[in-house]
C-alpha cells in the first residue's frame, strides 16, 4: 500500500483536481445564472428612480413622523377582527387538517396507492398558495369582510398543519399501536388510545405555532379586502396618510411580538 513519498502532493488538498474543476464550473454556472436573471429582471427598471431612492426614503420618513396617535382608538375594531381571523381561521384549519393528516400518514392511510397521493396533493396545493392569494379569490367569491379572511387563513393553514401532523403520525412508536391492537381494539379505538396520546403534544405545538404565523398574515389580509388591520392600512395608503400608516405598523409590530411571546410560552409549557 505504501507509495513512495515523492508521489504524494506537497500540500494537503481537500478535493481531487477533477473535483475542484467541477466545483468551479458549478460556481461559474451559478454566477452566469445570476447575471442573466439580473439582466432580464432589470430590463424595465428605471434606474432614475433607484438613484433617487435615498431622497425618497428621507421624504417618506419625514412624512411618517410624527405618528398620528389619535388614530389608535379607531384601530381597535380592526385589531379585534385581525385576531378573530387568525384564531377562527386556525380552528377551522385544525378541523379540516386532522382527517387529511390521518389520510396522508403512511401508517394510518386507508390506501397508500389511491388515498394518500390525493391527500398529499391537497396539502401541497394549500401550502403553495399564500394566504393573500386565497383571500384574493375568496373576496371575489364570498365578498369582502372578515369571513373571507377566516376562510383564507384556514385554507392556507390546512396544508401546513396537516403536513407537520402527518409527519408526527408517521414517527410514532409502533409498539404502542400493536399493544392496543392486541387487546382487540377497533381501528377507531387504536387511533384514540394509541396514536392520539403520542401526537397530542406535537399537535398542540403545531397549532399554536400556526396561530402565531396566522396573526402575522391576517394583519395584512385586508390589503385585498378581507378585513382587519390591513383594510385600515389600505385606506390610509390610498389617501397617502403616512402618519396613520406609522401607527398601523407599530400596532402590527406589537401584535406580532405579543403573539410570538404567547406562542413561545405555550410551546415551552407543552414540550
Amino acid at each position: 500500500m505504501a507509495g513512495t513519498p515523492a508521489s504524494f502532493p506537497q500540500a494537503w488538498r481537500k478535493r481531487t483536481t477533477r473535483g475542484e474543476l467541477l466545483l468551479w464550473v458549478g460556481w461559474l454556472a451559478l454566477v452566469a445564472l445570476f447575471v442573466f436573471c439580473w439582466e432580464v429582471m432589470n430590463e424595465n427598471t428605471m434606474w432614475f428612480f433607484v438613484v433617487d431612492a435615498p431622497a425618497q426614503a428621507l421624504d417618506l420618513g419625514s412624512r411618517m413622523v410624527p405618528p398620528r396617535w389619535s388614530y389608535l382608538p379607531a384601530l381597535m375594531k380592526p385589531l379585534w377582527d385581525t385576531i378573530n381571523m387568525a384564531t377562527l381561521g386556525t380552528l377551522l384549519a385544525i378541523v379540516m387538517a386532522i382527517p387529511v393528516a390521518f389520510l396522508a400518514a403512511r401508517n394510518t392511510t386507508p390506501s397508500e396507492r389511491f388515498v394518500r397521493p390525493v391527500a398529499l396533493l391537497g396539502i401541497v396545493a394549500s401550502r403553495s398558495i399564500n394566504a393573500l392569494i386565497w383571500a384574493l379569490l375568496l373576496v371575489a367569491i364570498i365578498g369582502p369582510g372578515v369571513p373571507a379572511g377566516v376562510v383564507a387563513i384556514a385554507l392556507r393553514s390546512v396544508g401546513f398543519i396537516a403536513k407537520l401532523l402527518y409527519e408526527a403520525i408517521e414517527e410514532i412508536d409502533a409498539s404502542q399501536v400493536e399493544a392496543v391492537t392486541a387487546t382487540g381494539a377497533s381501528s377507531a379505538q387504536v387511533i384514540d388510545y394509541a396514536i392520539v396520546p403520542q401526537i397530542l403534544p406535537a399537535f398542540a405545538g403545531i397549532c399554536v405555532f400556526r396561530w402565531d404565523i396566522n396573526i402575522r398574515e391576517s394583519a395584512v389580509l385586508g390589503l385585498v379586502g378581507a378585513g382587519g388591520l390591513g383594510l385600515a392600512l389600505q385606506d390610509s395608503l390610498n389617501v397617502l396618510a403616512w402618519p396613520q400608516v406609522t401607527v398601523i405598523f407599530v400596532l402590527i409590530l406589537l401584535t406580532v411580538l405579543v403573539s410570538e411571546w404567547v406562542s413561545a410560552r405555550v410551546r415551552h409549557a407543552i414540550i
Binding site: C37, A57, T87, V124, R127, L132, I142, V224
Partner: protein, 269 residues
C-alpha cells in the same frame, strides 16, 4: 402495595392533557366566552355569499378548463419577473446574510458585533414581506427591483438567524483543534466552522429559494412586480380561467422546487 378497596374505581380513565383542573376549566371557559364574542362580531352577508356561489362555480370551472392562451404574454412576463426576482434575491440575500449570521453567533463574535447583527435580524424578521414591499415600492418605484430588494431583505432575517443558531450549535472540539494549531480567526471560521455548517447552509438556501418564489407571487399585489400583479389584474377583470391558469402554474413550480430541493438536500447531507 395497597390492595384495591371497593371504593376505588375499577375502570381506568386516562389522565387529562392539562392536569390542573382549575387551569383546565379556566381555559375551556375562556375559549367558550371568546368564541361567543368572536362570532357575535362577525357579520356574514348571506345574500352576498349566495350571489358569490355562482362566481365560485365559475372559478371551479376555470380550474377545470384553465385558459393559458388569451393572456399568455402577461403571464409569461409575470412568471419571468417572478423567477428572475427569486434567483437574484436569493443569491444576494445569501451573500449578505452569511457575514451577518457569523456576526450573530455568540461563540465567535464579540459582544458589540453580536448585538448589532441580532438587531438587523430582529428588524428584518418583525415585518412580513408585504409591508416591506409597500415601503420599497414607495421608495424605489413600481416593478421587480422593489420586489428583489424586499425578498433579499426578508432572506437576511431568515437565513442569518438559522445560520447563527447553527454556528452556535457546532462541535466546539473541531474549532478548538484548529485554534490549537495557531490559526487566526479567519482560519478558524474557514477550517473549523464552515465545513460543519455548510450542508445545512445549502439546505436552508434551497428552502429559502422555495419561499422566495412563493412570496414573489404575492408582493406583486402591492406593485412590486412578478406574477402576483398579473394574478391581481386577472381577478380584477373577472377572468377566472386565466387566474386559475396562473394558480396552477404557481402550484406546479412550487411542487417542482420542493421536490428538487429535497432531492438536493438529501444528496448534500
Amino acid at each position: 402495595m395497597t390492595t384495591a378497596s371497593p371504593a376505588n374505581r375499577t375502570v381506568w380513565r386516562r389522565p387529562p392533557f392539562i392536569t390542573d383542573p382549575r387551569l383546565r376549566w379556566a381555559i375551556y371557559g375562556g375559549a367558550v366566552v371568546y368564541l361567543i364574542l368572536a362570532f357575535a362580531t362577525i357579520d356574514v352577508n348571506w345574500v352576498r355569499v349566495y350571489e358569490g356561489l355562482d362566481r365560485g362555480m365559475r372559478f371551479v370551472r376555470g380550474f377545470l378548463v384553465p385558459d393559458f392562451t388569451s393572456r399568455w404574454s402577461d403571464i409569461a412576463q409575470g412568471m419571468q419577473e417572478s423567477l428572475t426576482m427569486t434567483v437574484t434575491s436569493t443569491v444576494v440575500g445569501i451573500l449578505i446574510s452569511v457575514p451577518i449570521g457569523i456576526g450573530a453567533a455568540r461563540n465567535i463574535a464579540p459582544m458589540p458585533v453580536y448585538l448589532f447583527c441580532r438587531g438587523i435580524i430582529a428588524l428584518s424578521r418583525s415585518f412580513q414581506e408585504i409591508i416591506i414591499a409597500i415601503l420599497f415600492v414607495a421608495m424605489f418605484g413600481f416593478g421587480p427591483f422593489a420586489g428583489f430588494l424586499t425578498l433579499s431583505f426578508a432572506t437576511i432575517g431568515f437565513l442569518s438567524k438559522l445560520l447563527a443558531e447553527d454556528i452556535e450549535d457546532i462541535d466546539e472540539a473541531q474549532a478548538e483543534a484548529i485554534r490549537a494549531t495557531g490559526a487566526g480567526w479567519w482560519q478558524v471560521v474557514n477550517y473549523g466552522i464552515q465545513p460543519q455548517v455548510m450542508p445545512r447552509l445549502i439546505g436552508l438556501s434551497l428552502y429559502r429559494l422555495d419561499i422566495n418564489f412563493r412570496e414573489s407571487s404575492v408582493i406583486g399585489i402591492v406593485g412590486a412586480g412578478g406574477i402576483g400583479a398579473t394574478l391581481n389584474t386577472a381577478m380584477d377583470r373577472y377572468e377566472y380561467d386565466s387566474a386559475a391558469a396562473i394558480l396552477i402554474m404557481i402550484i406546479i413550480i412550487v411542487m417542482i422546487a420542493e421536490y428538487s430541493s429535497s432531492f438536493i438536500r438529501k444528496w448534500v447531507q
